[in-house]
């Protein structure tokens, strides 16, 4: 797997995700600067990492979605290339329209950093193929704007097309409002695009890939990718 991690001014989890990719695939991903107009030749997977691109000024992800590198990322996705946006990366994907919906301010109006439980809603993707259907996993969130929203029609379509990748749930797997850290509609934590090659998600699987930091549930996502893109 040849991965490229995009670095925007203000990205801050690019190293975390690069290490998670390396643990899964035994290769170091390339870092790509936001001002670059091309991805490294042969890139299989593009990662838009967490952080505060351009300070999250204006609106989270809004300025990054217009940065030079994003044209290349859009072309990559259009060609069927894989793109995962995590946290700020999800916000950027939503701003570019690569995945539907928007990320609003958390219902609590506060930043939230804690472990959450997620229900794996589909295993039909390169990202989630390694999980069991309906598996409950534990990974952290760390964001102030993760309150996913889309109109009813879009949501029904997402669900009808099996494109909700993860939902916030209780430890026992129940989808309840209390289980959501941010008020996301229908507890949605991650969604796929129509061709299933682009995933946007708020939680941080990259921070849960070693037992010593608290668990390995996140590693399965990167292992799935490494296997699918081998």
């Amino acid at each position: 797997m040849k991965a490229a991690v995009v670095v925007f001014p203000g990205s801050n989890r690019e190293r975390d995700v690069a290490l998670a990719l390396k643990r899964a695939s035994y290769t170091n991903p390339a870092y790509v600067w936001h001002g670059d107009t091309e991805l490294p030749a042969g890139t299989d997977l593009v990662v838009l990492p967490g952080g505060f691109s351009y300070g999250d000024y204006l609106r989270c992800g809004a300025m990054a979605s217009l940065s030079p590198v994003m044209r290349a990322v859009k072309d990559h996705a259009a060609r069927g290339g894989y793109v995962i946006g995590i946290c700020n990366g999800f916000q950027i994907l939503a701003e570019t329209g690569l995945v539907p919906g928007v990320l609003m301010r958390n219902a609590s109006l506060r930043f939230v950093c804690r472990d959450v439980h997620l229900k794996v809603e589909t295993t039909n993707s390169a990202y989630t193929g390694g999980y069991q259907p309906g598996q409950v996993i534990r990974v952290p969130v760390a964001h102030a704007e993760g309150n996913y929203f889309a109109d009813g029609e879009t949501l029904n379509r997402l669900e009808g097309e099996d494109r909700v990748a993860f939902r916030y749930c209780t430890e026992a797997g129940e989808i309840t409002p209390e289980a959501s850290p941010n008020g996301a509609i229908r507890n949605i934590a991650g969604v796929l695009n129509e061709k299933r090659n682009v995933l946007g998600m708020m939680p941080h699987p990259e921070n849960m890939t070693e037992a010593v930091v608290g668990g390995t549930d996140g590693a399965i996502l990167f292992d799935s990718l490494a296997k699918a893109l081998a």
């Binding site: 001014p9 203000g10 801050n12 989890r13 190293r15 975390d16 290490l19 998670a20 967490g50 952080g51 505060f52 351009y54 300070g55 999250d56 000024y57 506060r110 930043f111 939230v112 950093c113 804690r114 952290p140 760390a142 102030a144 941080h204 990259e206 921070n207 890939t209 010593v212 930091v213 608290g214």
Partner: protein, 731 residues
């Protein structure tokens, strides 16, 4: 030119005799810009004029120390070519006036202190002291300060892994917001601030200079009065995004060898950075102020020299390296300007619009700064509180539930969750226990144990014992994770030093800290003094916050407070006399705030600490907790809540009354749990080491019970423990 009147001198916070000294140094009347420079350099905040004479007593040396106090931060050797660089600072006055920006820029400032020296920051910790929960401003201050700390650190992507948060009416008019940063550098890539090389360019990087924060250092060196909120314009405004860019750009430049010296522009901005660099290097600097990147038009020399705009750095580069350096900063979208050069005059010379607007000899400006041996009186000793004179708890279980729901003992989850404590992926032991453990980047096995501690009610009752206790609590918290305590940073928060009783508190605390550091081979490598934490003549409780760092050679061999299994034996290390003086039980249950605080036996601390650390390092113990605020039963409850496992406890044979045994705050104690078949061996080892050890119970069940008679359910404990702060903040 403005005529310098006694009124202008007074407005600049200079005493008449201090101004006389300015005249002697200058040999003439200073202009307003020069007066402003003297004013900030000789402020309490920058000159430490009331505290220097006493700070000299602190031990600052040791084989592990690479750089002690005096630079931007302290540097400690952690082996294999790596160093930990750390410091704690206060941002008390600004945070009271404007909580969000005050707290945010406090974090920004301490981060710069650390990365200025070449370290990538890996952790932030922040001890906070607020006024009484009933005070009308408290909730607003908590909300703003926590959001400000989170807003800055989260954006920077530095995990916030610890701190404290307590409440007391003594802080009603003066909250304390302290922030500590720890970074990692390579020992051959540490950057210092002494300017050198006549003719070398002086370079300004980072944000533009605006009119914000002018006279912040002077403001932080005075008491508050009823008009203190009018000082809001002296508070700086932070931009963590720019600081993140500045961090990356500086580290990129530091990877090469272009930098001769570097200093962040913190308090007193361009003035203190340029003066300190010149002073340390024994050189002069000539600055062309027209070249300073400016945010506003028509800024005067006075404003530029005194602005405390954030996210700025001053550097001396090797000649000819300007273009390569400029390319890095421009790549990150930051201002880069050559604003002067190093000279051999020994003077700070300022030019603006073609004229010399300031010319001050640097050596006397720094070396002849006022130094006061302020009169002080020792704090009167308080009587020992006898357990028999304190009402007993009829039901230990009900009392425990009540104590866990008090502002000081309750869970601080509401705060911790607003801070990104996981970014970086190196947080091994998360906040909420004793020390946090963060893995050292660029090393396969090392980790750092990090904590901040202070018990102000002890310091108020007896500054000497309280000072010792603050140090030993960090020592215990680090030890309880398996770390070897290496060094501390101290952030001394006190009232008005011109009052002899306050000065006595300061002197006492320094004495206590010093004694503890010497006994534990645990030197002070950096620190900060914040005085005048006082409003309308009422000072804060003396609060010498101590930030400690410890080393784990193998982070996989660490312990945490969480009960991890049922049917394990609970062991108590250390002696229990049932000390209730100045305890939480005495204050929050019995309603008394008197009595001598628990005495600290430094030899016992070292002996018990070495014993516990040894067990953890050999993998014999993975569950450990130091016993501090609230005593034994509170510590057990914290372990039980973290693990979701209860405990069955039996009071050992003791003459100590039950409430004093379980809620007394005797020092030097740890709780550990071990499988039953390991107990005998550990008891034997303790005996051999001369360490007091008692079996006090077994883990398991869904409640904590004592002697079968007193009981508190885990669910009830959790409801109170987790409930107080969210409830308080929601109303």
């Amino acid at each position: 030119m403005t005529k310098i009147t006694p009124q202008i001198v007074a407005e600049h916070g200079l005493a008449p005799d201090e101004y006389e000294h300015v005249l002697a140094i200058m040999g003439r009347e200073p202009n307003l810009t020069e007066l402003g420079i003297f004013s900030v350099m000789w402020s309490e905040h920058c000159s430490y004029k009331s505290s220097r004479i006493h700070l000299k007593k602190l031990p600052t040396k040791g084989p592990q120390v690479i750089c002690g106090p005096g630079e931007n931060a302290g540097v400690v050797d952690i082996g294999d070519g790596l160093a930990a660089i750390f410091k704690m600072e206060s941002h008390n006055h600004p945070s009271y006036i404007e909580p969000y920006q005050g707290a945010a820029t406090g974090v920004g400032g301490i981060l710069r202190d650390v990365f200025t020296m070449g370290a990538r920051p890996i952790a932030i910790l922040d001890p906070l002291r607020f006024g009484s929960p009933e005070h009308p401003k408290t909730k607003h201050l908590v909300s703003g300060v926590v959001a400000g700390i989170g807003g800055y650190g989260n954006c920077m992507g530095i995990p916030n892994v610890g701190g404290e948060c307590t409440f007391h009416s003594a802080y009603d008019g003066n909250i304390l917001v302290n922030a500590m940063t720890v970074g990692i550098a390579h020992t051959d890539k540490i950057f210092y601030s002494a300017a050198a090389g006549i003719g070398n360019p002086v370079v300004y990087v980072g944000s533009k200079t605006g009119r914000d924060g002018i006279h912040g250092a002077t403001m932080a060196s005075a008491e508050f009065d009823e008009k203190s909120e009018e000082k809001r314009p002296t508070v700086q405004v932070g931009d963590p995004f720019v600081e993140k860019l500045l961090l990356e750009a500086c580290l990129e430049l530091m990877a090469g060898d272009a930098i001769v010296a570097i200093q962040d522009m913190g308090a007193a901005g361009l003035t203190s950075s340029s003066v300190e660099m010149a002073s340390k290097g024994g050189v002069g600097l000539e600055l062309i102020l027209d070249n300073v990147p400016q945010r506003e038009t028509h800024m005067t020399a006075y404003e530029m020299m005194l602005s405390e705009s954030q996210e700025r750095m001053l550097m001396i580069l090797k000649p000819g390296r300007e273009d390569a350096a400029r390319a890095i900063f421009e790549k990150w979208g930051l201002d880069f300007a050559v604003i002067g050069q190093v000279t051999d005059t020994g003077h700070l010379v300022l030019k603006h619009r073609g004229e010399v607007v300031g010319d001050i000899p640097v050596a006397p400006l720094t070396d002849d700064a006022p130094l006061y041996d302020r009169p002080w009186v020792p704090t009167p000793k308080q009587a020992k509180v006898l357990a028999a004179d304190v009402p007993a708890a009829n039901d230990l279980g009900a009392t425990l539930i009540k104590m866990l729901g008090t502002p000081d003992l309750c869970s601080k989850r509401w705060i911790v969750e607003q801070y990104d404590h996981l970014v970086g992926g190196d947080t091994i032991v998360r906040p909420g226990g004793d020390a946090a453990v963060v893995r050292v980047r660029d090393h396969a096995t090392k980790g750092l144990a990090l904590t901040t501690d202070c018990t102000p009610r002890y310091c108020f009752a007896d500054p000497v014992e309280g000072g010792k206790q603050a140090v030993v609590e960090t020592y215990r918290n680090i030890t309880a994770t398996g770390g070897l305590p290496l060094a501390i940073t101290d952030c001394m928060n006190f009232g008005n030093p011109q009052r002899p009783n306050i000065m006595g508190q300061f002197v006492g605390a320094v004495e206590g800290i010093s004694a503890a550091c010497i006994a534990l081979d645990y030197p002070v490598v950096s620190g900060n003094v914040s005085l005048y934490n006082e409003t309308m003549g009422t000072g804060v409780q003396p609060t010498p916050a101590i930030g400690g760092i410890g080393l784990l050679e193998d982070y996989t061999r660490s312990a945490s407070i969480r009960f991890k299994a049922t049917s394990e034996t609970i062991l108590l290390v250390g002696e229990t006399e049932g000390w209730l003086g100045a305890s939480i039980y005495l204050r929050d249950i019995a309603g008394r705030e008197d009595g001598a605080p628990p005495p600290v036996d430094l030899a016992a601390e070292k002996r018990n600490g070495d014993f516990v650390r040894g067990l953890i390092r050999h993998g014999e113990v993975v569950t450990c907790h130091d016993v501090s605020d609230g005593g034994l039963l509170v510590a057990i409850a914290e372990m039980a809540l973290a693990g979701g496992i209860g405990a069955t406890l039996a009071t050992p044979e003791t003459p100590v009354p039950l409430h004093a045994f379980w809620f007394g705050e005797d020092q030097g104690r740890y709780l550990m749990t071990v499988p039953v078949d390991r107990v005998e061996s550990i008891v034997d080892q303790a005996k051999a080491a001369g360490v007091p050890l008692q079996v006090i119970g077994t883990t398991g069940g869904d409640s904590i019970s004592v002697d079968g008679a007193h009981k508190a359910g885990i669910a009830d404990l959790r409801a109170e423990y987790e409930g107080w702060l969210p409830r308080y903040m929601a109303n």
